[in-house]
């Protein structure tokens, strides 16, 4: 699992190029705009969350097995929620 905080980045560029993003899915995560990118087999999944006008963090999870018990996007989403909860508790 990896966490990357991008400053000077917005979700709009990803949204505009959505046709090139595999498994593109827009949703809200704890009220923040988020975009999901996942591989067809879901061995990897990235969740992009816009936490400010020009700040986006990415939670990426990759698994070495396509075992049904480990869904990459579920893990990436739970990780993103944990980050938001942690940020909220400190602000």
């Amino acid at each position: 699992m990896s966490f990357v905080l991008n400053v000077n980045q917005t979700l709009s560029l990803i949204t505009q190029g959505r046709d090139g993003v595999q498994g593109y899915l827009e949703f809200a995560l704890r009220g923040y705009p988020a975009i999901r990118e996942n591989s067809p087999g879901e061995s990897s999944c990235a969740v992009y969350v816009g936490i400010a006008e020009s700040q986006v963090f990415v939670m990426d999870f990759t698994t070495r097995s396509l075992d049904e018990s480990v869904k990459a996007c579920d893990v990436a989403q739970r990780g993103s929620e944990a980050v938001i909860d942690s940020l909220s508790s400190r602000s």
Partner: protein, 137 residues
């Protein structure tokens, strides 16, 4: 020189290219001469489990490298050099290319992971049969 009954190689790395006349780690053997004679008759199929496990390790290493390259693409931000339409389009096309690259690598990773799972299942199945046959013999 391979014997007529043992067509595979016994040495060398697990992921060598395999010539058409070389069955590699899977080889035919005369079951009548082995302890598996009770379980199978005539000719059986034998797999070098240790080499197969080596292939799994190499595939896992390759999958990790592919995943690492895919993650590294997250660090590339393409910022428009100016606010005009051409500059914005350059940034958009660049972002599209990055996501297309990530999609290619993710698909490749899926395939590698599928191969790893399948090979692990084969090894596990082979081990089970091997132990069953050993108990019968």
């Amino acid at each position: 020189m391979n014997s007529p009954l043992v067509l595979g190689r016994d040495a060398g790395p697990a992921c060598d290219h395999v010539a058409m006349d070389d069955l590699g780690d899977v080889r035919l053997w005369d079951a009548a001469q082995e302890r598996y004679a009770l379980a199978v008759t005539g000719r059986g199929l034998r797999m070098d489990v240790e080499k197969a496990r080596g292939v799994v390790r190499e595939l896992e290493s390759l999958a990790d490298a592919v995943a690492g390259t895919r993650r590294a693409l997250q660090f590339i931000d393409i910022v428009p050099p100016a606010s005009d339409a051409v500059s914005r389009n350059i940034a958009l096309q660049g972002t599209r290319m990055i996501f297309a690259s990530r999609a290619f690598l993710a698909s490749w990773h899926d395939d590698l992971v599928s191969a790893i799972d399948a090979l692990k299942a084969q090894i596990s199945g082979y081990d089970d049969v091997d132990h069953t046959n050993a108990r019968r013999a």
